[in-house]
Amino acid sequence: MSSSTGEKDPFIAQLGKIYAGYTGGFAVFVVLLAILEQMGVPDRIIGYLFVFLTIGVYAYIGIISRTAAVAEYYVAGRRVPALYNGMATGSDWMSAASFIGMAGSLYALGYGGLAFILGWTGGYMLVAILLAPYLRKFGQYTVPDFLGARFGGNLARSIGVIVLLTASFVYVVAQIVGVGIITQRFLEVSFLTAVFLGLAGILVCSMLGGMRAVTWTQVAQYIILIIAYLLPAILMSVKVTGVPVPQIMYGFALERIEGLEQAFRAAGQTPPPGVTGFHTSPFIGPNGAFSWSAAINFFALVFCLMVGTAALPHILMRYFTTPSVREARQSVAWSLFFIFLLYFTAPAYAAFGKLEIYQTVIGQPIASLPEWIKNWQIVSPYGVPWVNIVDVNRDGIVQWGDFRIHPDVVVLATPEIAGLPYVIAGLVAAGGLAAALSTADGLLLALANALSHDVYYKMIDRNAPTAKRLIISRVLLIVVALLAAWTAGSLGADILFLVAWAFSIAAAGLFAALVMGVWYKKTTDAGAVAGMAVGYIVTAGYLVWSEFGGLSFLQLFGTKEAIVRAATAMAGIASASAEAKAAAAAIVANAAQVQDGALSWLGGVLNGYGMTTDHVVLRGRVVARLWGINNISGGIFGVPLSFLTIYLVSQFTRAPSQAMQDFIDDIRVPRGGVRLANKADAVE
């Protein structure tokens, strides 16, 4: 280690003891609450205790970790050991969507949902081998710092900041919505109150201590979220199979699910809307058979999620905090290990939940359903009840297709489905809250740092004194947080689908420039700037256009048949605006005059491979799909284009200077210092 960390830091040396004591304390707390519950303390009080006590602990860590040193504020003093940085990255990474939503998506989609499991783990391979060690060696504070130093200054830095702001902001809003959903359910307050309560919990962790406070609260949050995720799954596994290893035992649940699904079909029952295949069958199209389009979409999604993982700045910046390059590499492995613990349990959750519902709910009279179903038949922020029983044939019996459950409920309701005590439900709520808060903290810090460090300090006032920089940083943190909470409060659950966009946008905007900056010495400033701009504009443009202007997109790229089909669908959407419907109806009325779009040849080049340009109706909109690829995987177009642009432009622009090549040589090896090509890029 270096001279300044040579003497053993007493805090770091004590970490094991501190967190072991904390874990033990939390276990005692859970047991105490279980006893209180048995003694007749109402559920509501248990819920309050869980929410306020855990947030209180995070706040305490946040406050004792306050700092006035720049390196502590931005990179936690670069002394976070690999293992703990792994845990912090794990909770930084696993959001409300992972904790609450993932098992539910697997429940709803079966094999198709595994794209999220693969994509959100495999990306760490790319982080470890392509980026993390080199960013750590470079060793400044933010991802845009690297872009600025490698690609000649403020233009590259600004584009990096723009991509970062776009991707991180939609992501953080989704976390705050998640906090709101959980707090609302367990504290029984209004959604808006819940959002601002959550906001206070987020700010108290990050504001005073920046990265240092966020790191140590994230470790604490990881411990709670992993206990809260594993414990109910283990109890569920014991209930169903008698063995407390859900990850191995759910194979038997899968077999029984398949048997039951066969029996349902044999009895002439129809599956719930959107389900066409068996739970474990891969790549099933709408007609219930193998579909090329489903397979291509699966792999496109896996690709976008993986590359997006490796380009999200709030994750990459965590690897600036390790003491060395060597530990940065180990830290990525630890991160993935801690993430793996949750992700390889999620499919077990889904399988046990599904089996339990198939066995105890399907086929029962609606009048005598289990108690937990009634608790969840309340209206969700999505506008439909969380659990919705639609008696299609009005026979008073719950058929396979009559039972609809919102994916977000599967994890939250598991304790009740399995008949576990309320204390477990409170534990799950605390876990979900920890997941959402930790991710929100990391994202807010990434956003505020980009604005305060990259925009203000690097581009506006290079001579700002330390104290002023940190004050500006904190003010911006509060401003961004309020803006995110306001967006979350006013748009609610309608914006959750945007999270998936964050991956495609980060992937297309940043990944190619970062990777080629390290691995391809001839990458020029102009090449990187052009590549980032092309990737970002193509992807963000495609996402917005295909989502909100699906019909006009098809009028350019679609055949006349595709246009008429989309217009027909548009005219039939109940929630669409009157003008949009009238315009669509006019197209349908004049179907004979409709011409192929001007670029329909491009939309049709892959027709031979079953990849036709068409539309799907989603979220009350006609959403266009170029080559049949869902817009959730929009990065599949932007990422290769970004690489190609960087490569081509680099061939035609002046090669990087000798000083720049020396800089690249230095970041490639762990040993020694870094010779910056431009001394003005140095940070203190």
Binding site: P133, T280, L336
Partner: protein, 101 residues
């Protein structure tokens, strides 16, 4: 530098850490490892799952094999692969004397 000198926050350097020849040999070997791990990534992340429909009829402990690979098998490969990568890259660093002080 800063008022407090924390760790190795990219100290300014005046010379390369290694001579040209060592540097190039080191980078060649590092790149080789990168491509190897990238191949493992591609195999476990994509190739295996292309065969999911044909692997699924094989059941192990109740798991259809194709489903298992996407739900657990590939994940285990990723985790083990990364620990192996970290170890192997350290060996390369030490072989060329380019590890951190």
């Amino acid at each position: 530098m800063a008022e407090i000198n924390y760790g190795q926050a990219a100290p300014a350097a005046t010379a390369a850490a290694a001579d040209r020849k060592t540097g190039e040999a080191y980078w060649k070997k590092t790149s080789g490892l990168m491509w190897t791990v990238l191949a493992i990534w591609f195999f476990a992340g994509f190739v295996v799952h292309m065969f999911a429909p044909s692997l699924n009829p094989i059941h192990i402990l109740g798991f259809p094999l194709g489903f298992y690979m996407a739900a657990q098998g590939s994940l285990i490969i990723f985790v083990v692969g990364l620990f192996w990568f970290a170890k192997r890259q350290n060996q390369i660093d030490e072989e060329f004397g380019l590890q951190e002080d």
